[in-house]
Symmetry: C2
Subunit: 436 residues, 2 copies
């Protein structure tokens, strides 16, 4: 009977690792009966085993040496939950070299060193890497893209995949508090790290969209080529104006096909109230997918936390176990175009609608001057919001444009900022728009 | 090389069948490169082949005999797109007896004859039935429940899974038109059948929740035990009052665990504006899942139509092909508790909040009388909406209750209807509530 039990080891007994072990044990009967496979958590490795008491397993399960898992020929599945891009990378590469199935939640590593890992997989047939937990914790988007939507040409992915940023923007909108106060609230509630820059500056979202875009388009997206703009510049003023115009501001991660190639970017954007992503509140995540023949589809759920993440890791462990048992190689063909050249659309070629806010002197002719500059750059205004809210004899003027080219918008803003009647910089926020 | 090509046959060249064939051919290269399996559409059977011209395949692919597919030992995968519960059942059972992999979109057949099909599967090891397309067209909810959430105890599923009903309710709310007019608009736009009763009376939703609940709870849910209440009794008045109270009315299909057993029902319900299901508009579908450890999760997309449905069928064909190739038996363990006794919660034991509307004489003491009856039945009122809209000297009184027992609510309504000061029947609509 023993040969029918598949063993796995977990490297990393932090928050995520502890949650995984607890939930795996709690739901083990259910998992085994559904999978039709017996699973055994053979070893847990961490240099710091202080969380042992939370999981209460036999003492001989624990080790401080990752190699006790990686080098054990009886453990075909290695779960890497260390995080980071240093030792974790070494653990994964060594496991691949031993033809193992690796399960990881490490988005930074995949986004930044994905091509190295893929190279190593190619050299070691039989090895596989499963990474459902790397994007959107409880949202099974990797499996859906890989299998559920296997019959689709994916046209684009638009995602809210950073819970911290979404919590802050939701707080700002619903409680009318400024960015700093919303960030502080997020930190107090444990939704933001003491150093929140990875989240609020969009880096974490960029890691995740690199992974999703790579699966969707079948070619590894270079993380460094993703344009990244965070939310620290978003003001409560812009959120209020956007709301008056029928929009919410969200931090979006986008990977989509355009006439000019694949467009990959992370930026705050205005979303129409009727767009399904616009009602994603607080720390929730959602991934909106357009494809043919599915049309539009969205997956919504908890993006982080030990519980949702452990659901994703367990699903991968089961898939890895099936792969060991059957030689299924579930992940083998994900990056089928990995050797192909992928064209990235240059930022200047992007086409989208824009929200524009300027602080202008409250006198005749200002609007005409600004509108004239836009017209000269082939940018057409769809609506204007100008209200009697004079501050130091200047007024905010908010405009929404029709679809315009990024290059033209940047040139127009530079010209507008030179006008005497304009105070400070022009604020522009992109509007979520289908490529024309 | 030929043995590496897996052949499948399609029975039924109606709207869905034609869409499948077209989209399979269009995306074939993509599908094969992702799956790592070569697939061939070997035969298409229909007694009426008038759609041949839309797909333009070699003449020898077509047949009017389903048995040319079912009885061909070189075709291991049979795609049943005939629909209905008569010949389709025969085709599926015969295919199972030949140890084939069956792919079907037939929700009525699965819901009404599921246990017979499962019995047949048990007697024919190797045979499998895949049915992603039976629920929520472009929404990969079967795969997500079966694999993505394999590590979860599912606590409940709440779904908007009938596009026609949701279109009608959205029209009523957004355009303030009565039910009949919204239904007519749905029929004109092709969102409703000439005979819309399956959709608007909730039968179609009940078919689908029977399937989802069965997978979630691991035991076949008897379709006949599902309580079904449609939307034909919903008035524009109720939609407007609900909106004033911060709710939208949706036709919900629910399968959830309660203290008294599994509760399965289809009924219109009030949803808080902040609930992610409340912003599912028009003919879109969404399935909201609560589980441990995932927490809350929702899948959203197109529920019907040849394109979204073909995405689901293609995904199943690929899974079936992998199963043929590897002996994976992906679906084998879905109904792991099939022989177990499932307790269904009796309708009278349900506990939920209620929206109550009565038409009462506009005189002192009426509210006190009604409130007294509720109190006597252990039902506590959370808010009252009474406005000066006297019609024939009567006024509508709208009340929201705290969580109450169905049994008590029914008794209370019977008593209230006997009051002289009350006109007509009491309208009650359940409110989506987490079981206490």
């Amino acid at each position: 009977m023993k040969e029918n039990v598949l063993q796995f080891g977990v490297i990393g007994l932090g928050n995520i690792g502890t949650g995984l072990v607890k939930n795996f044990i709690k739901n083990l009967d259910l998992i085994q009966s559904r999978a039709g496979i017996k699973l055994k958590l053979a070893k847990i490795a961490d240099i710091d085993l202080r969380n042992k008491s939370h999981v209460q397993l036999d003492e001989k399960v624990y080790t401080t040496q990752a190699s006790d898992i990686i080098d054990d020929p009886n453990i075909p599945i290695v779960v890497e939950l260390v995080g980071g891009t240093t030792v974790a990378k070494d653990f994964i590469i060594r496991s691949i070299e031993r033809k193992k199935k690796v399960v990881t939640a490490n988005k930074a590593l995949l986004a930044e060193c994905g091509s190295e890992i893929i190279e190593s997989l190619k050299k070691n047939p039989g090895a596989e890497v499963f990474f459902e937990a790397s994007v959107g914790g409880g949202i099974p988007v990797i499996k859906v893209l890989r299998e559920g939507f296997i019959g689709n040409e994916i046209q684009g992915i638009t995602a809210i995949i950073n819970g911290t940023a979404n919590y802050i923007l939701t707080e700002m909108e619903q409680r009318a508090v400024p960015f700093d106060q919303a960030l502080q609230s997020a930190q107090e509630k444990g939704f933001a790290e003491p150093d929140p820059s990875l989240d609020i500056e969009g880096i974490d979202s960029a890691h995740k969209i690199a992974i999703l875009g790579s699966i969707a388009f079948g070619a590894w997206i270079d993380f460094k080529k993703i344009y990244v703009e965070g939310i620290s510049g978003i003001t409560i003023q812009d959120i209020i104006y956007a709301k008056r115009l029928g929009y919410r501001i969200k931090l979006l991660a986008i990977a989509r096909k355009s006439k000019k190639g694949i467009e990959t970017r992370v930026n705050p954007a205005l979303l129409d109230f009727h767009h399904p992503l616009s009602s994603v509140e607080s720390s929730n995540n959602a991934v909106y997918i357009k494809g043919f023949p599915i049309g539009e589809s969205m997956l919504y759920g908890k993006g982080a936390g030990d519980n949702p993440t452990s659901s994703a890791v367990i699903s991968d462990i089961v898939d890895a176990a099936k792969s060991v048992k059957l030689g299924a190689l579930a992940t083998q063909h994900i990056f089928n175009r990995i050797d192909a050249q992928v064209d990235f659309a240059d930022k200047m070629s992007w086409e989208t609608r824009y929200y524009v806010r300027i602080q202008a002197e409250d006198k005749p002719g200002v609007l005409a001057g600004v509108a004239g500059i836009f017209a000269h750059h082939d940018i057409s205004i769809s609506s204007v919001l100008q209200q009697e809210e004079s501050i130091d004899a200047t007024v905010p003027v908010v405009m929404m444009t029709h679809i315009a080219r990024e290059k033209n918008m940047i040139s127009a803003c530079q010209e507008i900022e030179k006008l005497d009647c304009i105070q400070g910089k022009v604020t522009i926020i992109r509007v979520l728009t289908q490529p024309s």
